[in-house]
């Protein structure tokens, strides 16, 4: 069902099994971007927020209607205008905001959701119109039926049929992997969540600073090449996570990790080390090593990944954990 063309460029190896709900689009510039599909619950919550806002707006219209007819005397034209305003709010609320706020309504914005084009192009106005016109049958009709009860005079089987038909629409997002509702299907859109990620300081920066500007000086913790060939990218990034952790348990975690790493690589240097400094130095050295391998086109995903560098025939001596 995922319709994106996952173009795999030479320097971009095909990712292993992607996490569920991750989708990739290729921007017009040709760079793939990864998005996380919005959860169904999040989308329901966003719609609920929007509905509340609409309800408040409708309430304001009714209040001003009462006010105007109290001031100027009751007139049929006020009812007409009120009904028209109801219609305009109902039909154009979503369209207006999705056009104005680049694919977000107040509810979506509150939950960090966005509408994007499945092909990665512009979110076109006609797509916004198309995906929101179907809300009439997906959202407003069931709501009216729910609130007002079945229309009088219609037979039971007509009501049943209507209900069955409407539930096809309502339940559609549960029956496809892309969590598309009917409006998304015909507009060619996805709803994705777009959390912000902050740029943190580089973990390797600590090691660099402590090493001093004089690159030729012997590093505080010398690691041999074979020691650096034990681990892969997965372990490196786990180490990054550990080093970024903050909290009361950190010191204990760092101690455990240090001891494990030392045992694994056969550390023969000094026993008493500052754990953080040791791990930062190891992280920096390991990253430098793995990144330089990367430049030669070798990507070692984890410690079990045994395609060792061409030079070392025996390869890394990783035996279990």
């Amino acid at each position: 069902m995922a319709t994106t063309s996952t173009r795999v460029t030479p320097n971009q190896p095909a990712p292993a099994a992607r996490p569920k709900g991750e989708r990739r689009i290729v921007t017009p510039e040709g760079v793939p971007l990864t998005f996380q599909l919005a959860e169904r619950g999040e989308r329901a919550a966003a719609v609920l927020i929007d509905l509340v806002i609409m309800l408040v707006a409708l309430g304001a219209v009714v209040l001003s209607f009462v006010f105007v007819s109290w001031q100027l005397g009751f007139s049929e034209i006020i009812i007409g205008v009120t009904l028209l305003l109801f219609f305009l709010i109902r039909t154009f609320y979503f369209v207006y905001f999705e056009l104005r706020w680049q694919g977000a309504t107040p509810g979506k914005r509150a939950l960090g959701l966005r509408v994007i084009d499945r092909k990665g192009g512009y979110l076109r106005p006609d797509a916004v119109f198309a995906r929101n016109i179907l809300r009439e049958v997906e959202l407003f009709l069931p709501l009216t039926l729910l609130l007002a009860g079945p229309e009088q005079g219609s037979s039971a089987w007509v009501n049943l049929l209507t209900l069955g038909w409407l539930s096809v629409f309502i339940l559609l997002p549960f029956f496809n992997k892309d969590r598309l509702r009917a409006g998304d299907v015909i507009a060619g859109t996805w709803v994705v969540s777009a959390p912000k990620t902050l740029l943190l300081s580089d973990v390797a920066a600590g090691a660099k600073a402590k090493q001093g500007p004089n690159q030729t000086a012997a590093p505080e913790f010398p690691f041999s090449r074979s020691q650096l060939e034990i681990y892969g990218i997965y372990e490196l990034q786990t180490l990054e996570d550990v080093l970024r952790q903050k909290g009361p348990q950190t010191q204990e975690t760092l101690r455990e990790v240090t001891l494990r790493v030392q045992r694994k690589i056969g550390w023969t240097g000094e026993e008493k080390v500052d754990y953080r400094r040791f791990l930062e130095a190891f992280y920096a050295a390991l990253r430098a090593h793995l990144e330089s391998r990367l430049l030669f086109g070798e990507r070692r995903e984890n410690k079990h990944d045994r395609k060792g560098p061409p030079g070392s025939a025996d390869g890394p001596g990783a035996t279990g954990s």
Binding site: R100, I116, R124, V185, S292
Partner: protein, 334 residues
Amino acid sequence: MNAPLKSFEFRREREASWRELENLVGIAEKKGLKSLPAEQLLRLPSLYRAALSSLSVARSISLDQNVVGYLESLCARAYFQVYGARSNFFESVGQFFAVSFPAAVRSAFWPIMIAGFWMTLGLTIGFLLVQASPDWYYSFVPADLAGDRTPASSTESLRRTLFDGADTAERLYVFATFLFTHNSKVALMAFALGFALGVPTILLMFYNGLILGAFLALFDGHGLLGDLGGWLSVHGTTEILAIILCGGGGLVLARAIIFPDQNSRLDSLARRGRAAGTLAVGAVMMLLVAGLLEGFVRQLVTDTAVRYTIGGLMLAFWLTYFTFSGRGHSDGDD
């Protein structure tokens, strides 16, 4: 073992431009793109492209997952701003009426014709059946729609339903809006039902035709066909056309599901669905016009000849609009 950390240098060189982009995007997210001064707005696309290229590089050389994750998120946020809906609301609405809507009508010519055909077929059958046996009327026309227009009504009371209303102008506003809301619901149903492979859409077209035919036969039986035609044509030319357009939109959806083009079903549905949605929105706007005509003009103008003229003019207007408006504008479609 002291290889220079390339990714570290890479980050140090580019971090300033990432921060600048992050700042711009942050402002745009909070206050809208319009709030950015012109020179910053101009920098946005180039900063975005720079960040994208940083992302490509980072993916291939950097193992710092925070940097890659940050760039992914930054590029995505910038992408929303750069490739979000391009124009503002009112511009889009203008573009919609000038180009998209008539273009969508032209591109859906055959589905619209088919929808029209089924309605005409219903009309003919309804007319003939009710003419042969007035009892059919009760099966076709729901009671709340018929009101006091039944085969049991006298010629005089039927005539009154056609020419009444001039003295009750006060109530017309409500009536007009009510009709409009009701009709747009029917039209949107016809459109959305295209999802069910179009069969319900065709049934809905046929059924609406039946009702219309039954009405015509009823009034014809009392020698009022000409007057009914005038009464209907004021708004009917617009309204019936709009309902047929919606039915055509529904059939476009159905066609995309049953006969996908060279792409997958989902892709072809997405491609054609946008045009079909445009059709439906446009039709709702037409129904708004029809509601106004029905509520005001029809009740205020009671002369049959004038009614025909108005209806004919409206029809001519719509046909001209659909045929000629927005021609030569490329819609930028794939």
